[in-house]
């Protein structure tokens, strides 16, 4: 407890007669010698005598309490700020450059508050009735503003505010400053935050409301700006593995930030983030914030297909030699160009690249070039490779698709099983129960208590070993080792037997190719192609499922991306004929 002396009270303690008073956190007097807490609280004493009492109370984080629920006054946007703050902290511990939090994310957030007129602007409003109120309450409002800033200082271990300059030149945040109106008192009954009610009903054209998935999108935007080595699928996987606060992020709000009623709808999350949804959010936010062109994605960036392909080739246990081919396809399709890779929200027809999906799609295309994946050629090539490996045990082994399939199938099935079990065992509910209103509160707390008791009972009956050991975050999900027979490594295998020397260049033995799609969807629905799984070869299905599991995306999304790359790669063939075309390799 943070306590301080209170010399203004001169009464004797009713229990030990000592005159030595301290103040508790709630502002009540207590006797420092016998720890007897009085009923008297500091507010009772005339504030004129102690002029700095208000400042003191603010610095202790002691703020006006609503009558129904003890707690601070706080705004919804402060809640989001808190979540962003936590997320940024975790990203920092994951090894992301520290500027991400204090410079990039902080600026994005400030820009967001400004654009959505919640703060950093002359007239932070969203209803006209409010405006008048703000002007009238000017004196108070500056008080509250400084208060809320201090609050963010207290709640986030280190605030998003990076330096003194930002404090001096930017007006302090003063979100939704409608405090004393009777309506807002009534509204506060239905939410712990001051503006939960207004926020959930807030509809204004051109304004993008922040949501919890939105915080992830904002995080990803900052990662992208910084060109960090984290893809969107990585970020979402960290969320799913509970490294990055998301689902129960509000749990770590300070005790005094009460959360109930309308706040529940705003902060309670009952689903894992979905790749496409967050991707869409990211795009919307970027346009809403009117962000300039992002830093260039050049060949030395992690997000460049050349590097990402290496990563995913390793992850998928494919031979390193394949990298040469992915590199070539990247070049031929122009996917490695800075302009096509760099995100520019303001540009006409702006589009972000799904870097991870694209890199994987490149690998799929290369696999198709090498093995055709028609449920036939890949197996006969495997036969050749195996015969050769039998005869030639000293050389670099030839890559056998069959051996690789057997290993991958087993590992992925296992991983998938664990993943499903972990999902089934996930505990969604926070330690603090969320409830609709005060009438609901005892019920919710009782339910919470009951669940905890019952869970205790069943956990003693479960396996003694802790069920889900928390994995440390890693960008790799698989680890392959040369000398481990249970997870053999194919990285060093050669593509001999699949590639044939022709003059000075190597040419794929397979000269056929089939296109993943002949027609692109031209309707107004969002997808580019339709993926009807049963129409495709089993090997192709396996590979799509394998990779889409790695990225936790739908197979159809990957199929779309493959088709788009093929469209670029076989531009001519597409216009000439719709039949299966031959791959032309130069």
């Amino acid at each position: 407890m943070e306590l301080e002396e209170a010399k203004e009270l001169k009464e004797r303690c009713s229990q030990c007669d000592a005159i030595s008073w301290g103040l508790t956190e709630e502002g009540k007097y207590y006797c420092t010698s016998c720890h007897n807490v009085t009923e008297r609280s500091k507010e009772v004493i005339n504030t004129d005598i102690i002029p700095n009492t208000k400042i003191k109370s603010i610095s202790r984080g002691l703020k006006r309490k609503s009558k129904l629920e003890k707690g601070w006054d706080w705004y919804v946007c402060e809640g989001f700020q808190h979540i962003l703050c936590q997320q940024a902290e975790v990203l920092k511990t994951l090894g992301v450059a520290p500027e991400l939090k204090n410079e990039v994310l902080h600026n994005f957030w400030k820009r967001y508050l400004q654009k959505s007129k919640q703060a950093y602007c002359a007239n932070p409003v969203y209803t006209s009735g409010r405006k008048a109120q703000v002007l009238k309450d000017n004196v108070h409002h500056s008080d509250w503003a400084s208060g809320s800033e201090l609050l963010s200082d207290a709640s986030c271990a280190s605030s998003l505010e990076s330096g003194a300059e930002s404090k001096s030149d930017v007006p302090t945040p003063k979100p939704f400053p409608a405090l004393r109106t009777p309506q807002s008192v009534a509204a506060s009954v239905c939410s712990g935050s001051l503006d939960g009610m207004e926020y959930s009903e807030w509809k204004e054209k051109g304004i993008l409301k922040m949501t919890v998935p939105g915080t992830l999108a904002l995080c990803y935007l900052s990662l992208l700006w910084q060109r960090e080595a984290v893809t969107l699928s990585d970020l979402l996987r960290f969320v799913e593995e509970d490294h990055i606060p998301y689902i129960k992020a509000f749990q770590s709000f300070p005790e005094e930030m009460k959360l109930y009623g309308r706040d529940k709808g705003i902060f309670a999350i009952e689903s894992w983030p979905d790749y496409e949804e967050i991707y869409k959010h990211m795009f919307e936010i970027a346009t809403f914030l009117d962000l300039p062109r992002f830093p260039d994605i050049t060949e030395d960036c992690f997000l460049h297909p050349n590097i990402l392909c290496v990563k995913y080739l390793m992850e998928a246990n494919l031979p390193d030699e394949m990298h040469g081919l992915t590199h070539q396809v990247t070049k031929m399709t122009g996917l490695g160009d800075v302009d096509s890779l760099t995100f520019d929200p303001i540009a006409k027809g702006a589009q972000t690249v799904k870097y991870d999906v694209q890199a994987i799609a490149l690998i799929v295309v290369v696999l198709k070039l090498l093995f055709l994946l028609d449920d036939n050629l890949e197996w006969s090539l495997s036969d050749l490779a195996e015969v050769n490996n039998e005869k030639n045990k000293t050389d670099k082994p030839w890559f056998s698709f069959r051996k690789w399939y057997q290993v991958m199938k087993k590992s992925v099935d296992e991983k998938k099983q664990n993943w499903e079990e972990a999902r089934a065992k996930y505990l969604w509910k926070s330690e603090k129960p969320l409830y609709h209103s005060h009438i609901d509160k005892p019920g919710a707390s009782k339910r919470r208590e009951m669940v905890v008791n019952l869970q205790k009972q069943f956990s003693t009956l479960a396996d003694s070993a802790p069920t889900i050991e928390k994995k440390s975050p890693s960008s790799f999900q698989f680890h392959w080792a040369e000398d481990d027979p249970s997870r053999p490594c194919f990285h060093g295998h050669s593509l001999q037997g699949i590639l044939v020397k022709k003059g000075p260049a190597l040419v794929t033995k397979n000269s056929l190719y089939w296109l993943s799609t002949q027609k692109f969807c031209r309707s107004y629905c969002k997808h580019v192609t339709t993926y009807e799984e049963s129409n495709f070869s089993l090997s192709y299905q396996f590979i799509l499922n394998l990779f889409s599991f790695l990225l936790r995306i739908k197979a159809a999304l990957l199929h779309d991306e493959v088709s788009l790359i093929e469209k670029k790669l076989f531009k001519k063939k597409y216009s000439e004929t719709k039949k299966n075309s031959r791959s032309r390799r130069r």
Binding site: Q457, S459, L538
Partner: protein, 484 residues
């Protein structure tokens, strides 16, 4: 034998006993309530299996078991199901799988996560969840090696207080569990609590459950009463302990009868309760009371048709030495419900003794009816009765009666009863049975019939005289006249 040595196997037996009975009562509940939730879940894996098979059939070398599930999630367009619901749904199927495989620890592990459904924002889910949790949880705790009666009790007590709807049902099942474990006193205490529990206005389903709780309490009391009665029967009447024991028993019965009466008045099948209630009433000489209970149990139209009700009543009336007409009327109803019941033989004899001609005819019908059932084909008494009665009737020249019964059976009885195979095996197993059947066969099918001929051919010195007689009877009375 040392006491421990004989005590052990007994208790083991008891444990096995309840092991057998417990899942049954749970299954019963599973069957009756809330099938919707389960059936929905149950149909899904089936279709998945089908799909899997299909993909193996069409596929040559690659096989994807997890693929279909993945596709399913892709296919469910429209409103997206929350992942929270997915978690609880997956949990439920994992628990069910673990239970089927008797992996109690795993089941408990998933249960830990499934419990969060009690905090679902969807109040519908929240309301149906406790019942499912109770069913699954009690199953796990019943079998889990680390579980004990105490854990079960804590669980049951917690579950009782989740929502008011389940209190009585869970109390009742908890009590049954305790009875299975031999903790009769605890069970009785539990039932007393349930009996006095009230919430809001008494609904009809509540009342039913309260009555059941009461009746089970009564049954427990009956159990201790009959134990005391046994002890009493061993005591000497002059023993000083006798009078106190007798008084004890007396005080018991009054309370018990109150427990039973409420339940017995509501329509339903209450065999064990009725039986013990009547036994107690009879013991204290309240014959009128007992008769009333049994009569209403058997004849009240609101009650479901229940053969046992008539059997109890018949046995009671027999003990009471009631007039034949009364006994006949009870058995007539039983004959309509269960024509294959072994009491039908008694019915037949009663009908034979009657003076009325229609009763005599009915007596023949009853015997034929009884032997229509596969379970009665080797009932020697039935055959004996039929043989002698047929002879008597044919002697009285009532061939028409026999013809009438035989008409509908002519096509199938020969193969059903009188095949060559049966002749051989009957003779091998039971010569007396074979003899009676041969006599009947001869009378119904003529002396040329193979069953009759086979038995006739067997030369057995004990039966020689009898067989000779049989030959004579058949010659004289057979309904099949040899072709002239």
């Amino acid at each position: 034998m040392r006491p421990t040595a004989c005590g052990e196997p007994a208790s083991k037996g008891a444990r096995e006993d309840c092991g057998g009975a417990h899942p049954h009562f749970l299954l019963d509940v599973l069957r009756t309530q809330d099938m919707s939730d389960f059936s929905e879940e149950l149909t899904r894996p089936e279709s998945e299996d089908d799909q899997e098979e299909a993909s193996t059939v069409s596929g040559t070398r690659v096989y994807f078991p997890w693929l279909q599930k993945h596709l399913d999630t892709v296919a469910t367009g429209g409103k997206k199901k929350k992942d929270f619901a997915q978690t609880t749904g997956a949990c439920l199927s994992f628990i069910r799988e673990a239970l089927l495989k008797h992996q109690w620890q795993q089941a408990a592990e998933y249960m830990h996560s499934y419990l969060q459904i009690l905090e679902d924002f969807d109040s519908n889910q929240r309301q149906t969840a406790p019942e499912i949790i109770w069913k699954l949880g009690s199953e796990i705790l019943f079998y889990h090696p680390k579980s004990s009666v105490e854990t079960f009790n804590t669980f049951a007590d917690q579950m009782k207080n989740i929502g008011v709807l389940n209190y009585l049902k869970i109390s009742l099942q908890h009590a049954l569990y305790l009875i299975h474990c031999g903790k009769l006193e605890e069970a009785s205490r539990n039932l007393s609590q349930a009996e006095t529990w009230r919430y809001g206005e008494k609904s009809s389903s509540q009342e039913m459950l309260i009555n059941l709780a009461q009746a089970y309490k009564g049954l427990l009391e009956y159990f201790s009463w009959s134990k005391k009665k046994m002890e009493l029967s061993k005591l000497d009447k002059d023993d000083y302990a006798y009078s106190t024991e007798a008084r004890n028993i007396f005080s018991h019965s009054w309370k018990t009868s109150v427990n039973f009466s409420a339940l017995i008045k509501t329509p339903g099948v209450w065999d064990p309760f009725v039986k013990s209630y009547v036994e107690m009433l009879e013991f204290y000489g309240d014959r009128d009371g007992a008769r009333k209970v049994l009569t209403s149990y058997a004849y009240d139209e609101k009650f479901p048709s229940n053969p046992n009700a008539h059997i109890y009543l018949y046995n009671f009336l027999k003990r009471e030495k009631a007039p034949r007409a009364k006994l006949l009327s009870v058995l007539k109803i039983l004959y309509q419900i269960v024509p294959s019941h072994k009491l039908m033989l008694e019915f037949h004899m009663l009908l034979r003794k009657s003076e009325k001609e229609e009763h005599h005819k009915l007596g023949l019908e009853v015997l034929f009816g009884l032997l229509d059932f596969a379970g009665c084909t080797k009932n020697i008494t039935a055959w004996k009765y039929l043989a002698s009665y047929l002879r008597q009737i044919l002697m009285e020249n009532r061939v028409a009666w026999v013809q009438e019964e035989w008409k509908s059976r002519r096509n199938w009885w020969p193969a059903f009863h009188f095949s060559y195979f049966w002749a051989k095996s009957d003779w091998k197993e039971d010569k007396d049975l074979a003899y009676e059947k041969a006599l009947v066969a001869g009378m119904l099918l003529g002396k040329g019939y193979r069953y009759f001929r086979y038995i006739l051919k067997q030369d057995h010195h004990d039966l020689r005289k009898k067989i000779k007689q049989m030959k004579k009877s058949v010659k004289k009375y057979s309904i099949v006249k040899p072709a002239v």
